[in-house]
């Protein structure tokens, strides 16, 4: 049984604001990968989805990841595929980039870089927040 076979409609017509909140680095733990899996599956439900990257979550989006040495799956290219799933609202917290010496140029996808107030506003608009 795979994920795809298990999707069922569950609330046709209802559109809620979902925020996926990513605060962890990739590879050191599985949260980043399994968060991405929820986002992809969730896309089939056609909700109003935003994905936020703050704290070490911004490391999920860095270019140049090469996992041959650790023998793990490099899932970073999948962030580029989000657009095809109509997941287009990706927000990155500017201070989290700054603290890590990163800029938008270091990231593998186009994102909206926001400040603390904008991020707090975004969080406060949501109906469902999934934390990873």
């Amino acid at each position: 049984m795979s994920e795809e076979e298990m999707i069922e409609g569950g609330g046709e017509g209802v559109i809620k604001k979902f925020l996926y909140l990513n605060r962890r680095a990739p590879y050191g733990s599985i949260y980043a990968l399994e968060s991405l899996e929820v986002v992809l599956i969730g896309a089939a439900f056609e909700q109003d989805v935003s994905v936020a990257f703050i704290d070490d979550g911004v490391y999920q989006l860095t270019k140049g990841q090469d996992t041959k040495g650790v023998e793990m799956k490099n899932f970073s290219p999948t962030y580029r595929a989000l657009e095809m799933y109509d997941v287009e609202k990706l927000y990155v917290f500017k201070e989290s980039l700054d603290e890590r010496g990163l800029t938008e140029d270091d990231l593998i996808v186009d994102v909206e870089v926001v400040d603390a107030k904008q991020m707090a506003d975004l969080m406060d608009e949501q109906e469902v927040i999934l934390s990873f």
Partner: protein, 130 residues
């Protein structure tokens, strides 16, 4: 109020599953509806029937099974997370060529869509984890 709960960690290693259980129990006692408890990440490890914790400690998996039986609560283990970590029901075991299964009573295995559905259907979704 209709509530959904997500549990990201397994039993014992972290308190997340304990906190989620106490929260669900309190919500039921107050008359709220628990639409679903969704176990994701290591949370799927709550759904084993093979655990034998010490007599003087709580039995985390049993406690979930009992609560589900008593109040008809839907306990869902994420199929992808369960496959990674070795939690299987009879169907999954057969499908994957395994000679045994280990799912506990009251739990069922299903897809991540069940989590999204809980988000859509519930008035609130509460996440417990590490």
């Amino acid at each position: 109020m209709k509530l959904g709960v997500q549990v990201n960690e397994g039993p014992y290693q972290h308190q997340a599953s304990d906190s989620a259980y106490q929260f669900v129990k309190a919500a039921v006692e107050k008359g709220h509806e628990i639409f679903r408890v969704f176990f994701y990440h290591d949370g799927v490890n709550n759904g084993t029937r093979l655990a034998t914790p010490p007599q003087d400690d709580r039995n985390v998996a049993n406690r979930w099974s009992e609560l589900a039986a008593k109040h008809d609560i839907d306990l869902v283990l994420c199929v992808a997370a369960a496959q990674r970590r070795g939690i299987a029901d009879a169907d999954e075991a057969k499908r994957n060529g395994k000679d045994a299964d280990n799912i506990a009573p009251g739990f069922r295995i299903s897809g991540l869509g069940q989590l999204i559905e809980a988000g859509i259907q519930c008035d609130r979704l509460v996440v417990f984890g590490d």
